[in-house]
Structure formats: structure tokens, C-alpha cells
Symmetry: C2
Subunit: 469 residues, 2 copies
């Protein structure tokens, strides 16, 4: 008869130990298919354990399908089609994935906020209060568009700061604009052709591609996206950032905005996705009216995000759907759960309602203006001054640096990288090679810089470009 | 000459008031296209304001495209292709969207956790510590798969509780499994056919449909998904929950698991998505080995979520990719930012590392077992006892209640709804009408019930079903 030792089994339950022994023997083939197991009673007697122990072990083996019972006959080992190979640690063989990101002395590519700038104490206070007072609400499944209190706060914010008249119901909260783009593709249709700005923000076209929808690069001129090219294309949806084009910083003038609305109404099913991603950080003048606020034809989908204004690691964005699309969304896509945690939705709602968001934006704007001024001044005082030009420095968080050089962009970028400076060239943001990309122009995102490090960073940059050091 | 009043402008800057007056006149058509504006100097004199005021107003109008300047000539109103209609409040006309969800006396459909069960004090403590100590980390963009510390904690947890040998690198964090399914479609391909269990969790097929991929309903039998039907189909990817099928509660036996792995290796490009969504709450016996842990062919994608174990309003789920798919993901999809906030990733990491998660699961399991026992007992003591059967009560958070009745399901559901009880019929979970759905069987999810309310709720339910009251 089968025999197993019950010595040294530690705190393991007897039945579980027995279960494991039999299971292992089945898996390694020692107990072949159709093998008849001993009767519970005689097995128990033989092993010196209680009947219950054997019974529990058999029950577990049976529940997991290792054995089966035949009425009035007993227990048999199941036929298992392919036996397991001996388990080895698979993790050891993994090619080392690059988990840690390279540390740069200065990163002119990412949007970052330094710990000194994030409102940690207010955020902590609101979190503490929320966790104390909103137990029920925190655990209540929110409507598909997100927590209503947050959507009301955003609606009020949009009224005050963008003069937009949207109801809380039209606002859909999501874990980042990237996620919301994915939803929009499902809403507007996979058969549509999506126009994106060229140059533009890489990720947008990547998302369209990853979702298998056709995406078309339309050049940008001094007034924003080229309308003639858009009209000549067969695109149905155009994705633009009229308040502040990335990376050129171009602001689409109001007349052009009306022309774009004209394009949208020109054909059934045309839509404009208005990405207002960092309009809060316009450093000069008043913000320009959004397309959404002057649209009377319900063709504009407005999007904005707190990942730029608050922190890129808090993933909260939103979109404002015109009424017909909202109804369509409810019908087809409202089965999706909201992707943002209630905890952060409630904290953000209070952060906005209690005026902290406005204060934070004002503080950040002042901070960024100061950083920008210092960077621009440092460049102008440096040896670069005579061979470079800075443009579009009024529109949030980055400017363009055109350098008078014979060196190829690639060479300059490599030198910068070697020196610990992460920089990107304007050419990198072009998707269509036939659209003329200006060379020797670099995108300088200064959002992650502290004032103290500016002199050193600009010195390093100068050395890279001029080839000293 | 143009004249505007500067009385009653409150705290508005003079230039901004002037800008608004002119802009409004342009928008309403009072100042037509090509209208020449007064020279700055004479306009300033006329209005009794400084030159700077007019200059700033013109600059703002020009920046926004309302006017343009011609060198040495002056400023002209831009041609705007379609004039705005008078703005009315659009929010008032919105058809009232159902924002508040209906309140039920008992909800047997949703997965919920009551505030008494959520570990608020520990979560608060960890949040406070995180916000105090991890300023840099909280604002640092995490790798595309998520915060490494959390992925390490999950890897350790999987080793201890599921005997799974996966590296932190293989784990990808996302804001809910719904979001991760969307990523998987992008990873595995839109041209693939996806098999889902019938009956099954609605949302899975909804997500495949919303993403425009072909989805096929394969019936479930007593050993899990019907393998013959799967083999006969032309499906490439099968989506299953072998540890605990929803809603029938069926556990796929080990022999069937090997057969499924055999199916996967039978053809290039076949994959199994193993949804292990509430394996932590198996109320009897030991958990069964996952497909992932016995897979040697790298065809299993393991998924699990904290939305069931912690709270459905904290949106954190993860998937474990086999190495070749991980490399493919990195190549094509790693441009996506992680959708979960760093703040919650770090808190959850510590929650797991410091043993709170294990304690929480144990506590919840005990709690759910008690609630289940009381619900089952209350039903067995009620007038329902003679005309109902309870099955699959050992597998987490719900059981099936088959009722011996002549009333159609629809009628029973309506009665329950009227009485304030949210209930669902097993038939509702079937996608293919040709797959025989057993009538008069209801899915009873008891996770949101407190012990105190059980007698009353079961009484209500009995009255509904037996038609009294």
C-alpha cells in the first residue's frame, strides 16, 4: 500500500500534507492514470492518521480534479494529458529588463514637478479629512463618468477659468488622456480617419496606431493645423491643441478656430478633439476662448488633464462630450467602470472647490515664469547668445531653441545625452517625412528645473553645443 | 470714433475691459471684417486711458486672432467665417442624465465592501507615511509596468499565496482589469478571435465588442469551458476564470487545465487569459494551482485585481505576461503611461509588504464565510426552504439559488426590484441564446450584506418569490 511519512511536516495540516504527497506523485507520474487509491479507512489505519485526514485529502484532490470517485468502488487517479516538467525558477532566466530609468542632470523632455512645488501638506490634509469623513462615499461605485462631486467642481472651474458652459454630466473622468483617447476611438468609430498635427505629441499617433485606426499627419503652419490640407484629406476627426500647440507653441487664432468649426459642420460625423492640455500655464495675456465654448454644432470634444497642472504621477484627466455623443457613450460604453480611484477623485474635488487648485496654478505659473526667465537670460548671457534664437517662450513650460550650427541634430543630441542632458529635437516630433522639419531646433521643457541648477545646466548645454568641455 | 465706457468695471484691468468690449463687438458683427481700428494714440486719448492700455488690449486681440496689423497702416478686424450665435446656457437644456444610482435595500449584484470592513485606519496611516516620506518617489514617472516596489510586493505575494514564480518585471499594473483587457487586445491583435465563457461575466464580451474584435461564446460544462467546442472553433485566445467561474462557481479541475494548456500549444499564436479575480475568497479547501504556474509553454496571461479584495473603488489590477509577450509589449506599447496614481501604488505596496493585505484577506474571508452561513441558514429556515436549492456556495462571494417556481424569471426579478432587492438571473449571463440557460436560477452575491440585515433581507426575498406581502 501507498505510504507517506508524516515526520517533519511542521505546522502543515495533516490532511494538507497527505494531499500534497499524493498530488506530487500524480504529477510526477508515480501514480499513473486510473490507479486505484486505497480505501479511506485502510489508508488511514496504515498511515496512523484519522479517517477524517484521509477524507479531507481525497476531497481536496477530487475538488482539484487530480482524482475522481466511482460510486461504491473508490477513488482513481485522473488521466492528465501532459505531465508537468520539473519546475525550475523561471525568473532567473529573464533577460534583465531596464527597470530603472536613466538619471539625467537635466531633463528637458519630460513634464515634471519638483517635490518643492507639489502641495503635499494641503493634499495630505484633504486626504486625511476624506478618509475620516467619507467612508460610505469612498466605497460607493461612482457613476460611469466619475464621482459627481469632482465633475461639478471641474464644471465650475471651467466656467470660471475658461468661460465654458458645461454641465457636470458632460464630463467624463479617466486615468489619463491616453486612456480617454482609447475610449474616443471606441466611441467615434474604428472606421474613421483621425488627423493629427505634424509636428505633434508623439503619443497621440502611437495610440491611434496601437488601436489599429488610420491616422493622418496634417502639417501645422503659423495659424495652427493647415486647413487646406485637412480639407483635402478624407479625415473625419481632427485632433488639435489650439491653445498651445506642442511642440511649436503656436496658438490658433480665433478666425482659424471658426474655420475649423466650419470644417466640422461641413460633413456628417466630423469631430474636433480639442486638447487643452496646458492652457493654464500660458505665461502672458489672457487665455484664448476654447473651441468648445464657441462651438454651436456639438462637434467639439474638449479634453484636459491634471497630470500637467498637478503631477504627472496622479493620473486624472477628463473630457467634455457634446450631448449627442454623451448619449451614444451612455448607450454603448457606460459599462466601463471609471478608471480613477474614488479616493483621489474626492480629494481632487475638494482641492478644486476649496480654492487650492487656483492658488496652486497661480503659484506654478509664477514659478514657471521665473524659471523660464532665468533659463532664457542664462542662454542670452552665454556664449550661445550669438548663435541661437529662442521662440514661443510665452506658451507654457517649454520654448524652442534654434541653433546656428553645421552639426547634425543627431550629433548634438548625443553630446547632450553624454553630458547628462535629456533634450529632444523638433524633427523628432514630425510623423510625415515629407513635411519639412526645421533642423537645429530643440524643444526645451524647463518644467523640471529648479532655479538653483539653471546656471550649471545652461553652462553644460553651451559646452555641448559649442563642443567645448 | 469707437467709444466704450469704463464705468463699473470693478477690479477688471482696464486693458482687459477694453479687449472684451472690442471682442464682443467683433463677435456680434458690430465691427465687421476689415474694419480699421483707431490708432492706439488717438483711441487712448478719446477713451481717457493710457496708450499702454490700448496697446495691451490690441495685443491680446491680435494674439487671439480677432484683429491683425498691417505694417505702417494699423489694425484691422479679422474675417471670421461663421459668427457665433448669442450664447445661451446650454446646460439647462440637457436631458437629465440619471446621475444617482438607485438605492437598494439589498444589492445581490454588485461586489461591494461595507465601510466597517475596509481597513481605513491602516490605509490612512500608510498614506500619511507615504506622503511624508516619499516626496521624490511620488512625483517620479514610474516604469511603464508600474511602480517597481508594488510589482515586487505582488511578485512575493504570488509566490507565497499562489505558488507562482514570476518576476516583478513580468507584472503590469493597470487601472482595472477592463483597462488591461484593452491593452491585451492591442498586444495580441485585433485580427484574433477571442473565446469567452458562456455564461460569463458580461463586461468581458462587451469590451471585445466595443473594441471591434470578434468574440465567440463557448459553453461551460461541469469541468469549466467546453474544450471540444473550443477546439472546433477558430478561436485564438480563450478568456477563462478556472479558479472560480462566474457566475456558476465551477472550478476547473487540474486535468482540464492541462488539456487547456495542450490546446494552447496546439497552434502558433494561441493564448489563455487566466482571470483569477477572486481566488483569495475560496471559502473551503486550499486554492488550486493556477494555469500560469503549470504552464511551460509561455501561453498563459495571468490577471488579478485588488478591486475585489480591497475595494472596487480603488482601481488597481495587474497582469503577468510571459516573457515573449512582455518583450512584444515593451516594443509596441510601452509608450503608454501607467494608469494608476503613484500615490496609491506606493500605499498598496506597503500594505502588502507589511502583511496588512494578508490579514485583510483572512479577515474578509472569515467575514464572508459568516455572512454566507447566515444567508444560507436564513434561506433554509425560511418558507423558501422547500422550494429552492443552493449550489456552489464554497466559491467566493456568491452562490446560485435555484427556485422551484412556475413564474418566469422576469417576473421574479421585477418583484425583487420593487421590493428594493437587486438580483440577477443566471440567464442574464448567457451571451449565446442557443446555449441552454437554466431558468429560475439566481446569482446571489452577498458581499455587500451586513450580518444584521440578513434576516430582514431574506424575509423580503422570500415574500417576493412566494408572492406574499
Amino acid at each position: 500500500m501507498l505510504t507517506y511519512s508524516f515526520a517533519d511536516i511542521g505546522s502543515d495540516a495533516l490532511y494538507h500534507h497527505l494531499y500534497q504527497c499524493i498530488r506530487d506523485d500524480i504529477l510526477c507520474g508515480k501514480l499513473p492514470a486510473e490507479f486505484k487509491l486505497p480505501s479511506k479507512r485502510s489508508f488511514a489505519k496504515n498511515l496512523g492518521v484519522s479517517n477524517i485526514t484521509v477524507e479531507n485529502a481525497y476531497a481536496q484532490l477530487q475538488a482539484e480534479g487530480y482524482i475522481y470517485s466511482v460510486a461504491k468502488k473508490g477513488y482513481y487517479v485522473t488521466e492528465i494529458s501532459c505531465f508537468a516538467q520539473p519546475a525550475g525558477s523561471r525568473t532567473e532566466n529573464l533577460p534583465g529588463q531596464e527597470m530603472a530609468l536613466k538619471k539625467y542632470i537635466a531633463d528637458f523632455v519630460s513634464n515634471r514637478i519638483s517635490p518643492q512645488q507639489f502641495p503635499f501638506s494641503v493634499w495630505s490634509k484633504l486626504l486625511r479629512e476624506t478618509l475620516l469623513n467619507l467612508h460610505e462615499e469612498l466605497l460607493e461605485t461612482p457613476p460611469w463618468g466619475g464621482v459627481l462631486q469632482l465633475r461639478r467642481a471641474i464644471s465650475q472651474h471651467l466656467k470660471e477659468f475658461r468661460n465654458m458652459d458645461v454641465s457636470a454630466e458632460q464630463i467624463i473622468i479617466g486615468a489619463g488622456t491616453e486612456y480617454l483617447y482609447g475610449l474616443l476611438i471606441q466611441l467615434l468609430g474604428r472606421d474613421k480617419i483621425y488627423a493629427v498635427e505634424d509636428p505633434g505629441y508623439h503619443k497621440i499617433s502611437s495610440i491611434y496606431e496601437a488601436n489599429g485606426v488610420q491616422c493622418c499627419f496634417i502639417p501645422v503652419n503659423k495659424r495652427g493645423i493647415d486647413l487646406k490640407r485637412l480639407q483635402a484629406s478624407s479625415c473625419h476627426v481632427v485632433h488639435i491643441s489650439p491653445s498651445h500647440h506642442f511642440p511649436t507653441g503656436i496658438v490658433t487664432p480665433i478666425s482659424k478656430r471658426y474655420e475649423l468649426l466650419g470644417w466640422a459642420v461641413g460633413q456628417e460625423g466630423r469631430y474636433i478633439i480639442e486638447d487643452d492640455y496646458d492652457s493654464e500655464f500660458r505665461l502672458a495675456g489672457k487665455p484664448i476662448p476654447t473651441l468648445q465654448s464657441i462651438d454651436r454644432s456639438e462637434r467639439v470634444i474638449y479634453m484636459n488633464t491634471f497630470t500637467k497642472t498637478l503631477a504627472s504621477t496622479i493620473r486624472i484627466s477628463y473630457m467634455v462630450l457634446p450631448q449627442p455623443l454623451l448619449e451614444e457613450f451612455e448607450k454603448r460604453l457606460s459599462f466601463y467602470s471609471c478608471t480613477v480611484s474614488n479616493f483621489e477623485q474626492y480629494v481632487l474635488a475638494q482641492f478644486i472647490e476649496e480654492g487650492y487648485f487656483e492658488k496652486h496654478i497661480n503659484r506654478m505659473r509664477t514659478h514657471y515664469r521665473r524659471v523660464r526667465d532665468e533659463v532664457v537670460q542664462a542662454v542670452r548671457k552665454s556664449a550661445l547668445a550669438t548663435c541661437c534664437e529662442i521662440t514661443e517662450e510665452d506658451a507654457g513650460l517649454h520654448f524652442l531653441l534654434r541653433i546656428d550650427t553645421k552639426l547634425p541634430d543627431e550629433e548634438l543630441l548625443q553630446r547632450a545625452d553624454k553630458a547628462g542632458i535629456r533634450l529632444s529635437a523638433l524633427t523628432e516630433y514630425y510623423g510625415n517625412p515629407t513635411n519639412d522639419a526645421p533642423a537645429h531646433t530643440f524643444v526645451v521643457n524647463y518644467s523640471g528645473l529648479s532655479e538653483a541648477e539653471i546656471p550649471n545646466v545652461v553652462k553644460l548645454l553651451t559646452e555641448c553645443i559649442l563642443g567645448q568641455g
